[in-house]
Amino acid sequence: MMKLSNIRKVYGKGSLEVPVLHGIDLTIEDGEFVAIMGPSGSGKSTLMNIIGFLDYPSSGTYELNGEQIAAAKETTLAKLRNEHVGFVFQQFFMFPRDNAIKNVASPLVYAGVSKRERTARAKELLVKVGLGDRMKHLPNQLSGGQKQRVAIARALVNNPTILLADEPTGALDSNTGEQIMKLFTQLNEEGKTVIIVTHEEEIAAYAKRIITIKDGLITDDRRVTT
């Protein structure tokens, strides 16, 4: 469970200050499937980065599983990024010279896992995301959808409880995007907390809870009942 209280984020300093988040209160339970929507520039990515420990709030508190996260403590954030969350980006972000297996296994390197186990875990996850026949391929030998699958496998490799995806289908056609969303749905059904940012209603429709942000504030938060 994560609990964000009165999260504010201000970029820049002095006269160049840009306030982006104006006090976000948000609680997400384990196992939820959340979509964050809102117009461009409303602060969705900023919020996601804070949730995923890639960035820290200017003020406010963040509790993870009842524990307060000490903001801006570099080593703590790195450890949390490595162990508790898996991040999927719109632009995929691969190590261009490493094959699929090595890309997937990369977080395990920083977790201190042995090479043999890293490879075994990576292969297992590549099979799970449907890339069992592309394991030795380099990123530039893979399509966008395949790259995003590799990225999802990489996000899963450390067995995190939370999966974060900032516009994961933004660079994909709608058909491929649907397949990626089906994968997220499956992972959510297996117990992962999934949080995605999207512009598209069709993509948000896969989630069970839709949060809307406007100008750095939550304006709508509704659960989809089926």
């Binding site: 890639l54 570099e74 990024r81 490595n82 972000f93 010279r97 390197v109 920083y110 201190g112």
Partner: protein
């Protein structure tokens, strides 16, 4: 993630930019190669020079006469060296620390025997010469004190001359040979001190009582005087004492006996070599500094180029320390590799120098160790700034970097 993983990442990133890496390493390669070659040559030269100075006569020191012009007439440059005799040799041999005295004079002569002819170098010696110089008499006898006193016209020939002038089966002892048209009797044969490979070019040498040389050639009886110290460590001290004794015994006024101070020589040699080493060392140091700056520059470029990679590594859980370490190891690998290549070049250089010059330059394991550690340290010093810069990047800004 352990050091080995970082090292492999570093190697592959060096390999992926082969040309750039080689160019970057060039400064280090040249610097290290220069330092090590110079040190190797310097050590070789020093060894050779000290060998030349000391090895043949490790515990012998020359004693020579030095003229001092009279105080009331400093322009007076006409002097005569005092005559030395076997008695003086006796006196010197009793000076404390002196093991033996070598008193010689020199002559040249045309030797004829059995229709063979050859020019011979003749050394005039006393009986004390044989034990002092460790002369091995292989046939016949050595010289006696009586040979000098009695002006006996006897000679010892060396093994080279024996081979040239006598048949193998012939007994040279007692034979009369002709030297500058004068007869001399051969009383012994001694082992030539020349190394085997030089022997065939030579006609050989001979020893004879120095009084006979003085009589037949008109030389002074003792032209060259050396003392051999019982303790090579105290050779300069012993030599000085012997010279002073001789000066006193001869009651000299406008002159004295002196010795060369070996310690002075060695000191001078050492200063010269250290000066040379310092000079070359500073040139090499500048080259290494420039090389190091080159490494820093390329590492900074690399950090900028790989901003996204760094962002991604941080996003998947790399700590600041791990990023710092990765770039540091990369720059250390780069410079150490340069150092190793430099050492390789230096080794080749030393082999060439040893091959084509009289100096034996050797790359010692210690130098190799110092060379590698030094290049590694350069990697650390000049890699720190770029590595620190990389480690401080914020993950999200690094990922957004275009």
């Amino acid at each position: 993630m352990n050091i080995w993983d970082s090292f492999k990442i570093a190697l592959s990133s060096i390999w992926n930019h082969k040309i750039r890496s080689i160019l970057t390493m060039l400064g280090i390669i040249i610097g290290v190669a220069a330092v090590i070659t110079i040190v190797a040559i310097g050590q070789g030269t020093k060894k050779q020079m000290t060998d030349e100075l000391f090895s043949t006569d490790k515990n012998a020191i020359d004693i020579y006469y030095e003229y001092i012009p009279p105080e009331d007439d400093p322009e007076m440059m006409f002097w005569e060296e005092p005559e030395l005799t076997s008695e003086d040799v006796q006196t010197l041999s009793k000076v404390p620390g002196v093991k033996a005295v070598v008193a010689t004079n020199q002559g040249w002569g045309m030797m004829t025997h059995n229709d063979e002819q050859g020019e011979m170098q003749i050394t005039g010696v006393g009986a004390e010469f044989f034990p002092a110089r460790d002369i091995q008499v292989v046939e016949g006898r050595s010289l006696y004190a009586a040979d000098n006193d009695g002006l006996n016209r006897v000679v010892l020939i060396d093994t080279i001359a024996r081979e040239k002038f006598f048949k193998e089966s012939e007994n040279p002892i007692g034979e009369i040979i002709n030297l500058n048209d004068n007869p001399y009797k051969v009383v012994g044969v001694y082992e030539s001190p020349l190394p085997e490979q030089f022997r065939n070019k030579e006609t050989g040498e001979m020893l004879m009582p120095r009084s006979v040389i003085s009589m037949m050639f008109g030389n002074r009886e003792i032209e060259q005087l050396k003392v051999i110290a019982s303790d090579p460590e105290n050779i300069s001290e012993t030599g000085r004492r012997a010279a002073e004794t001789l000066t006193a015994v001869k009651g000299l006024e406008n002159g004295k006996y002196s010795t060369n101070d070996f310690e002075d020589y060695e000191r001078e040699l050492n200063t010269m070599i250290s000066l040379l080493t310092l000079l070359i060392g500073s040139i090499a140091g500048i080259s290494l500094l420039v090389g190091g700056i080159g490494v820093m520059n390329i590492m900074l470029v690399s950090v900028t180029e790989r901003t996204r990679e760094i962002g991604l590594r941080k996003a998947i859980g790399a700590t600041r320390r791990k990023i710092l370490l990765q770039f540091l190891i990369e720059s250390i690998t780069l410079t150490s590799l340069g150092g190793l290549i430099g050492i390789g070049l230096a080794a080749i250089g030393s082999i060439l120098v040893s091959e084509f010059s009289p100096i034996t330059a050797t790359v010692s394991p210690l130098i190799v160790l110092i060379g590698v550690s030094f290049s590694a340290i350069i990697g650390i010093i000049f890699g720190l700034l770029p590595a620190n810069k990389a480690s401080k990047l914020s993950p999200i800004e690094a990922l957004r970097y275009e």
